[in-house]
Amino acid sequence: MNTAPSRPAIQGSLDALPLFVPALPFAFVFGVVVAEAGIPQWLGWSSSPIIFGGAIQVTLFTLIGEGASVAAAVSAALIVGARHMLYSVTLAPKFQNQPGWFRWIGSYVLIDQVFVLSQIKPIDEPVAFRRYFLSAGFTFWALWMTCTALGVVLGPAIPPEWGVEFAAPILFISLMMAASDRRDKLAAAGLAMIITYLSAGLPNRVGILIAVISTVVVMMLLRKPRP
């Protein structure tokens, strides 16, 4: 399924935009967490270019706000971010026929949405893949830098009863449907939801990893040999 767009750089940006809209309220949630942790706004914002990962940043500052030690807060944030290792494995074949600089820079923008875009739009041609990936990644990057800056300033002013943060699970279920282009993938998504719920009480959201790995193993055991 090689659907190389004729203008991969432009297409990457265009595909990134609708996926950013639900991340906007998350930037405001981030602002609230920074304010509640009593961290200076500029210092909280500096995590956007340094870490570039919404859930990781929110986890880090939530724990710092609760008085956790640096070691505890950093390790919890990294466990929350551990799913990125799965993205790294999954995309490794696509990074094989690429120049070294792309491995360095591409890794920096490997976030949830960029990963899913690369899976929904598989591009086999290395140059087109690289342009698409970088343009989607840095479109998100520029928007996240701008919106988290707004978020630390304006976030505390958004009334919590609006429930704007519900946009995040809505985005991910929408991405889940887009990534489930076969029935077995949809079944895998359903199974992963059940296992995540059953393991939701485990510390640091480690249930995400348990659910993904065990579901993949189950799907491989159940699979029918394909021609």
Partner: protein, 101 residues
């Protein structure tokens, strides 16, 4: 101390993303592993949805408005493939039910 925590987390999260891209840059992926990796995207997204709707203690932190919002968003995403429409349908049904109930 906060600056140190940010820098350490930055180095750590970059390493998580880069590790296998570099480690497997010359590895020949067997077809079985490539098939297994096809399940990563749908399952991680599914796990994130549930993770966001549960408390750190493991209790479900969602009611009927959230459930209906997610179902509407999923159906619209499946039918149209449009994430903005899906978000609109999900948030609109979530807000509407939250206001009615």
């Amino acid at each position: 101390m906060i600056a140190l925590a940010i820098i350490l987390t930055g180095i750590g999260s970059y390493t998580l993303r880069a590790f296998f891209i570099f480690a497997l840059s010359r590895y020949t992926f067997p077809p079985l592993l490539l098939q297994a990796l096809e399940y990563v995207a749908p399952t991680v997204m599914a796990a994130l949805v549930i993770s966001m709707l549960t408390t750190p203690e493991g209790a479900l932190d969602a009611g009927i408005p959230e459930a209906v919002g997610l179902i509407c968003a999923a159906l619209v995403a499946k039918v149209t493939g449009n994430h903005i429409l899906s978000l609109t349908a999900g948030m609109a049904s979530f807000w509407l039910l939250g206001w009615l109930l």
